[in-house]
Amino acid sequence: MKFTLSWLKEHLDTDEPLEKLADKLTMIGLEVEHIEDKAKALAAFSIARVISAEQHPNADRLRVCMVDTGNGAAPVQVVCGAPNARAGLISVFSPPGTFIPGKNITLGVGTIRGVESRGMLCSAAELQISEDHDGIMELPTDAPIGAGYAQWARLGDPVIEINLTPNRQDCTGVHGIARDLSAADMGKFRDPGIKPIKGEFPCPVKVTVEDPALCPGFALRLVRGVKNGPSPAWLRERLTSIGLRPINALVDITNFMAYDRARPLHVFDAAKVKGNLTVRHARDGEKLLALDGRTYTLDSSVCVIAADHGVESLAGIMGGEASGCDENTTDVLIESALWNEINIAQTGRKLGINSDARYRFERGVDPAFMVPGLEMATRLVMELCGGSPSESVVVGKQFGEDRVIDFPLTEVKRLAGIDPPISEMKRILTHLGFMMAGQGPVVKIAVPSWRTDVQGKADIVEEIVRIVGVDKVPMTPFERGDEPRKPILSAIQLRTRRAKRALAARGMVETVTWSFIAKPAAELFGGGQAELALANPIASDLSDMRPSLLPGLVAATQANNDRGFADVALFEVGQIFSGDRPQDQFIAAAGIRHGFASGKGIGRHWSGTAAADAFDAKADAFAVLAAAGAPMQALQIVPGGVSWLHPGRSGTIQIGPQNVLGYFGELHPRAAEALDADGPLIAFEVILDRIPDAKQKPTRAKPVLELSAFQPVSRDFAFIIDRGVRAGDIVRAAQGVDKKLITSVTVFDVYEGKGIDDGKKSIAIAVTIQPREKTLTDQEIDAVAAKIVAEVTRKTGGSLRA
């Protein structure tokens, strides 16, 4: 919403400076977005006369001018390049030190080709008041030498633009803005009232409203014998000052009413409208050439005003070209109506029309001002164009509802923390047009018709607080009381945090990718369900909710690869979706390693360069699980698992087949190819929600530590086994021999090749035996060792390596 200071002063008797008014507007909720103050920006530019213009001694195209800047000052020497610089010309002068907006420079005293120049004669473009830069400005001979140019050219009216919130339809007119400012002590509100105009004859045009839900009120009046033409200067200046184009008096009046009184109107050339008016739904396929020169194809959701020729106007949005008023108009129909806000908004969006009428009607205009608005417009038409008015046709029953709110005065203190005296509350509300009755503790407050946004007690509190000033609300410490200081994060929140830090500590870099991915990628990773496909995706590759973090991470890895960074280890911890219910959303932690980004470090290095492999992914997954508090002893690793990983180089992490926590391995080459990524890619994903909750313990004390007094004994064994036998089975077999004595089994060597038969491999384990009650004799240790060999042999079919 734009208006000028002088326009505001038509409605507000005030001497307050612009800055103060602007600050106040912002502080009462009418946020000033921009002030264009040409008078201030152009204050240094004055009207001057060129006394003489001589050829520059050293430059063909330059002239040396002596300039009379007025006020009895000595003539000033200016070097000027404009072809029209000549003796006697009245133009615009700026002294050294002036900021030239059109050139974005501050002028200094200059010496141009050996001749001093103490200022500048300016073009209109240099002042940014027009595009014209063909020479310096030429002003009429009666322009006062020495006067400020901006004042003389009537550029002195600052333009204020406010960012209006959608609830304040009353401030889509300058009148309403002035009312708010008056309540905030910024001056006296001028509200002389509107006198009705007596019709001289019945209105010959009848109005039928087919659907009152779309049009709760409609008022119409004919003015006969008008003479349409350019508006008077005051009206044209009003409109041009805020960037509107004057058209003719009748049209200008409607625009003026919209901006002055938040009352959009429409004028039809009565001669071009045949028959009576019907307000109705458009018929599917009906067309209208609108005033913006575009033809709109309508459907039954659009509300129109139609006559015998068909649609004449898009109700509340834009008139039709065919019935528009021009200089030949002699009889004018003035329409002032009420429209359904939602329908206006939807129609405007659908047709892509942003008109001043739509802007107001979709916010909901003051219903009680429909008829007075028509009266005021009629008066303006008669004043500017003459003519004789008909009586008004008014369709509709009630224009606005009476709203009275029972308001406990304590409500202000309760919600806002301030306690203004009742007299102050009453003063504020009265200025805003409310009426307050009673002395309390509960008063009755009648809401003015134009404040359709005020419905309840909280709204009244807001009115009082915003005018008193939110800055007057004292900051009040918010005590946390004696609530115990307990951890506030839930289990999953804690797991999420720890998973991130654990992965970053493994050298991986956290990223955040899109929650939505391309459908084929979603399908590849087990997603792509119909209920997870967006109806209105922003792009075809951001169409489906992700079933896994990996597709996004693969794309991110490839993007880095394409930038020349091949050795990357990326991870993400975030939401994945298996359905559209809350319980179908999980938090996953996933990572991708590519190139020389192994667990040892990123990139090549003299100390050892290793390409990332499936064991890095396994280690990443285990780091997440350990950090997130998973029961590590209970985890089982099952080879293979998901279709998007290499069948021979991947594993599934589970606690029993019913609870799969995640998987790791090398991305399947087919998956990499489908995602347009260069493999090999090393991947893991763990679903943090699936980690069983740890048991709550009554205290934080750790279990008692038992330290054995006896030295542990270590024994090494190497087994030759079939290549397909899993190391994990050997470890488990060895461990199972005596769970009390055997405290650890580690694999310290895996060998295939020379010395070992084809199809076989050698696996060496170190077994730690921890005596508990006494030192073991050699015979006892040998007995345990023999059992280990027997058990491993039995379970795996292997034999002790000779």
Binding site: E462, M475, D580
Partner: protein
């Protein structure tokens, strides 16, 4: 006697000439071993007369002691020389550059770090963290939050929708984290003090908007919290988050469907070559919206607005992260460029704490 003197002198010469420990050992064996020259002399003592044995014995033992001492001294010298030689051969090039450890190379995304910072600050003020699903119903995202029918946010061009179900209802991607407030109010009795950080979605994509972004909202419901408390909390938060001693904030009346009164909050700042300094300057920068929870919202969540009251606020995590850490382009937060992530990301051990500082 001359023989003994000569023998001793010969042995001492041999000791001095021994070049390594093995040669020295050979000298020792030749002199003091079972069949050594001095051992042989000692074995002759038994055949001597007592007087002769007395003088000869003393002389031979004296020679033996001298030889033994010389052997020990020589052995120390040779051992030390051998160690020096070995160490010289073991020299390494200590200028070889180290590999950065994983802890130095890994990074936490700025958004994660800022979420941890927010949590730390609000936990200290007694707030819990609530979360909810990204895929929401129209009811929780709009209706219960007092969005009127026909509100532009409910249109397909503002909000991501899923396809309609058989009953005509359609799920959507939440446009703010306010549905978490609704879920909390429906399941928890006041007093309520929560923050709701999370991912949100709107159809928007340009230099300052991305289709997904992150918000943190706060909600307080009890029997006495008012605008003065809200102002205090936000003021304390801004000081703590931006890590400044003082900050000027401006609370402006505004409008949101779910709060009444509603306020927008600006902080005073100075912009200087892409850097923003808070607590000084002439510019006002809008950072959040807030207000008293609208009575209609309370009613929709089965809370009596005449008994309970409270306030809520919401701000963009991406935005405050960018402001604090000087990141200029929102889109880079989601572009996974390792150069950007390494530069703007945080080290894994830099966990924000109140005791140690949020960002240091």
């Amino acid at each position: 006697m001359t023989d003994l003197v000569q023998l001793e002198s010969e042995i001492l010469d041999q000791i001095a000439a021994a070049g390594d420990e093995a040669a020295l050992e050979a000298v020792r064996v030749a002199a003091l071993g079972k069949k050594g020259s001095i051992s042989a002399l000692l074995s002759t003592l038994g055949k001597m007369s007592p007087e002769e044995r007395k003088t000869q014995g003393a002389a031979i033992n004296l020679a033996k002691d001298k030889v033994t001492q010389a052997l020990t001294a020589r052995r120390d010298i040779l051992k030390s020389a051998a160690l020096d030689a070995r160490l010289a051969s073991e020299t390494i090039d200590v200028t070889l550059p180290l590999r950065e450890t994983p802890v130095e190379q890994g990074r936490i995304h700025p958004l994660s770090q800022v979420m941890d910072e927010l949590t730390t600050i609000f936990a200290d003020m007694g707030f819990a963290v609530a979360e909810g699903p990204d895929i929401e119903t129209d009811d929780y995202n709009f209706t219960k939050l007092n969005f009127p029918e026909g509100h532009p946010a409910r249109e397909m061009h503002d909000t991501f929708f899923f396809n309609p179900k058989e009953d005509g209802s359609r799920m959507l991607l939440r446009t703010h984290t306010s549905p978490v407030q609704v879920r909390t109010m429906l399941t928890q009795k006041p007093p309520i003090r929560i923050i709701c950080p999370g991912r949100t979605y709107r159809i928007d994509s340009d230099a300052t908007h991305t289709p997904q972004f992150h918000q943190v909202e706060g909600l307080v419901i009890d029997k006495g919290s008012h605008l003065g408390h809200l102002k205090w909390i936000l003021h304390e938060f801004c000081k703590a988050f931006f890590e400044v001693d003082h900050i000027n904030m401006r609370f402006r009346p505004s409008f949101f469907p779910f709060t009444e009164p509603s306020l927008e909050v600006d902080i005073q700042c100075r912009r200087d070559k892409g850097e923003i300094r808070f607590g000084e300057g002439e510019d006002w920068l809008e950072i959040l919206g807030c207000g008293m929870v609208h009575p209609n919202v309370l009613r929709a969540c089965d809370i009596d607005p005449d008994v309970y009251q409270g306030f809520a606020w919401g701000m963009g995590i991406d935005r405050i992260a960018m402001l604090k850490y000087g990141m200029s382009d929102l889109r880079q937060l989601f572009e996974s460029d390792v150069r950007w992530l390494s530069h703007y990301g945080f080290r894994p051990l830099d966990v924000p704490t109140l005791a140690g500082g949020l960002s240091s």
